[in-house]
Symmetry: C2
Subunit: 442 residues, 2 copies
């Protein structure tokens, strides 16, 4: 207890809190919500993360999209304990506030909300995004921004603007399955690259790949990769921008989790170090404000701006106007930063609780990532465990998980699962993790 | 005057009205808003429509997308007299009512409105679409419907599901330029087919094309084609469905104007005659309820359903939830049919007024279509007129128009323009049409 410590040592409460926070930052203490500070479990300290990944250096066409549709569908089922899809429950989102802004903006500006949004996207929203863009390490004007239907449309536009069928696109291994589906839909070949659980994409291997293959685009999640939770160090981001310039290869940067570091400031974008304009920045508010509003954006840079803007018109004409206006108003005036501070703390605790539960309940030899942001855990189970079979078994118990193989084209990660830690920690979730562990042991 | 007629002939007002409406249906009278019934101008009766089109029978890759972006952008400029983009002003849309439903649905169901919509789209909306689908000539279950970001996403999904790069897609000539842009983005070759100003796509030529070319999809707007305003007779729709089955070629049916006949009942969908499931139905509410909400839908049929559903997830993950809920509520409970009746009458009058103005003000030899629905006019000017130059000259006068060449891949229709008649008729619009006519004469 803070109070006990301040009394015992005759220091002020704020000094005691400072001390605890320092220890927390060093990973020796952990904060539990509505409870207090606890000595961090040895389990986590002792556990190791998954090793560097070693995907084969071959470019392949993803082909399992059909099979996996069932997996995605199951992951999204609402009656399940939702450890599958990476998703926040509405209780952790500014639900009433955002809806109230939607109502207010359509009442104040009924005509604007009703009309087709014009290229490159809603002006109010682009203005607010521009104001905030300094947090990415480099500011962008409203005219440099294209708004989209979530981050996925932005990534798809960037892929279409930089590749043509049969081209090779380099991705992290493991990578978000949506990228693999897009590559499959566009007839692209995918080259998976090794990653480290903490620092993400291995640039040595990327450089080697760029020398050997005619790579047309690199898709990367520098901040809090999904599923790894890794963050590229600043030096790596710089190096990545340099490699892009040297090999003249576009880097499509998916920053959807960028606003959700567990500690400290948000990480910069690769685009901030990109003097030659090879980086295409993409993000959205689906992981911070509302998945259902479908509001995303891109900063394509001068090299790709016109093409991406034109393609946006071709694909969906425009993004829905009212939802863009509501997000713009929230950014202007809703306390987004305050909101983020609260959400980050909450997610850190949830990830921590899930990690503890996994290490307690899962078979010996299980390894877990230590994400520095976001809200997913990447769990390596003993080799004998079949993640797809585990997924099916879990569904029967009313629990959804994301099986490892969907994050790769090579049938790799057969003994990995991704756990969504977006939910408020509860006995129900703890029990679900225990059940997964028991089934994995069998 | 109705009153004078009823007095003069000693009949009831409603009988007089009935008589006027019969004469109106026969094209002998015209209704002018807030004014009354007038004997229809001889001009229109005497004018002829453009001839059957005769595009060359070759499949080409559309290549002018870059140039045309300026045209689209200019067409959407808000400060112009808006005769370019096919668009309704908010005063002709149920603006406050729809926004009020948006506010109400997000208040009543905050969690649902916040969450990712699950495949194949918002259930409330699919339920209401299903109920209404009987007006298409054949009813569809909610489970047969995929919701989309406007009609354009639906058409794009259908094109991607049925073609691969370099494939040939047959379209009407002239056709909506969005189709040509999509074909360009997907690397497709476009085969333009002859059309009649009244009945649309010429099936004799389609059949010939299907025999000669490996056509992978036919894109057609059976009801109120844009820019022609043509409507396929029922027999042609039937025949088209038969051709699709015989040649095993998918028909992508764009019915975005289908709810806007000027007289009588809405036309059936080709899909209603399609026993072998080759027709993919697409539509949206962008021309009837709200362009800005971006709510569209598709009925892909069992042959293409899974593929299109999967692709929808890949492209944009989901359509924004709140806007779908608002449209669903409007359909359930907002008087959509009553609304449509009012809107159709209004549009008919506006198209009529614009036709009269064009025939009065444009150079001799001008021909105009007589659309049976929707709200665009396709105007053929004398051969010497260059529509692209006219477009540029009009922009300088603060008037936007849609130049003919954007509706074709062949640089055809160089002396055609499309006029948006979505605006409430006014002296300003009349003056603008007069100005266009004067510039065309020069």
């Amino acid at each position: 207890s803070l109070r006990a410590l301040s009394r015992d040592l005759d220091i002020s409460i704020s000094t005691a809190l400072q001390a605890y926070m320092t220890l927390e930052n060093q990973g020796l203490l952990e904060a539990r919500p509505q409870s207090g500070f606890y000595v961090r479990s040895r389990l986590v300290a002792a556990s190791s993360q998954p090793d560097m990944t070693k995907p084969p250096m071959t470019a392949v066409r993803p082909g399992k999209a059909e099979v996996m549709t069932d997996v995605y569908r199951a992951m999204g089922q609402r009656e399940m304990v939702p450890l599958g899809a990476a998703n926040l429950p509405t209780e952790l989102l500014p639900t009433r506030q955002l809806h109230a802004m939607l109502a207010r903006m359509t009442r104040l500006y009924p005509d604007e909300a009703m009309a087709y949004d014009t290229l490159p996207g809603n002006e109010r929203l682009r203005r607010e995004l521009s104001k905030r863009s300094i947090t990415l390490g480099s500011a962008y004007a409203p005219g440099e921004i294209v708004t989209t239907v979530g981050c996925m449309e932005a990534v798809n536009l960037a892929l279409r603007a930089t590749t043509s069928p049969n081209a090779i696109v380099a991705v992290e291994s493991p990578t978000y399955y949506g990228i693999l589906q897009s590559a499959a839909a566009m007839g692209l070949r995918v080259l998976e690259l090794p990653t480290e659980a903490s620092t993400g994409l291995c640039l040595m291997h990327l450089e080697r790949a760029l020398k050997r293959f005619p790579v047309k685009a690199v898709v990367v999640t520098p901040n809090y990769n999904n599923p790894l939770g890794s963050q590229m160090p600043v030096a790596n981001k710089q190096k990545l921008a340099e490699l892009a310039a040297r090999f003249e290869v576009p880097v499509i940067e998916d920053d959807i989790y960028g606003d959700l570091p567990h500690d400290g400031e948000r990480g910069a974008a690769v685009r901030a170090f990109d003097k030659k304009n090879w980086a295409i920045y993409t993000s959205s508010f689906s992981k911070t404000l509302s998945p259902g509003y479908r509001v995303g954006w891109a900063v394509p840079g001068p090299r790709f701006f016109e093409k991406i803007e034109r393609m946006k018109f071709t694909e969906t004409v425009a993004t829905a106007t009212p939802v863009q206006m509501a997000v713009a108003e929230y950014l202007r005036n809703g306390g987004y930063d305050r909101w983020l501070r609260k959400l980050r703390k909450q997610l850190k605790v949830q990830v921590e609780c899930a990690t503890q539960a996994v290490l307690r309940a899962f078979p010996e030899g299980t390894r877990v990532t230590r994400p520095s942001g976001g809200f997913v855990l990447w769990v390596e189970l003993p080799k004998r465990v079949d993640a797809l079979a585990l997924h099916t078994a879990c569904l029967k118990k009313g629990i959804s998980i994301a099986p490892g193989p969907i994050f790769s084209t090579h049938n790799r990660y057969g003994n990995f699962i991704r756990l969504n830690c977006g939910n408020v920690w509860s006995a129900k979730i703890e029990r679900a993790i225990k059940t997964i562990g028991e089934m994995a042991a069998k």
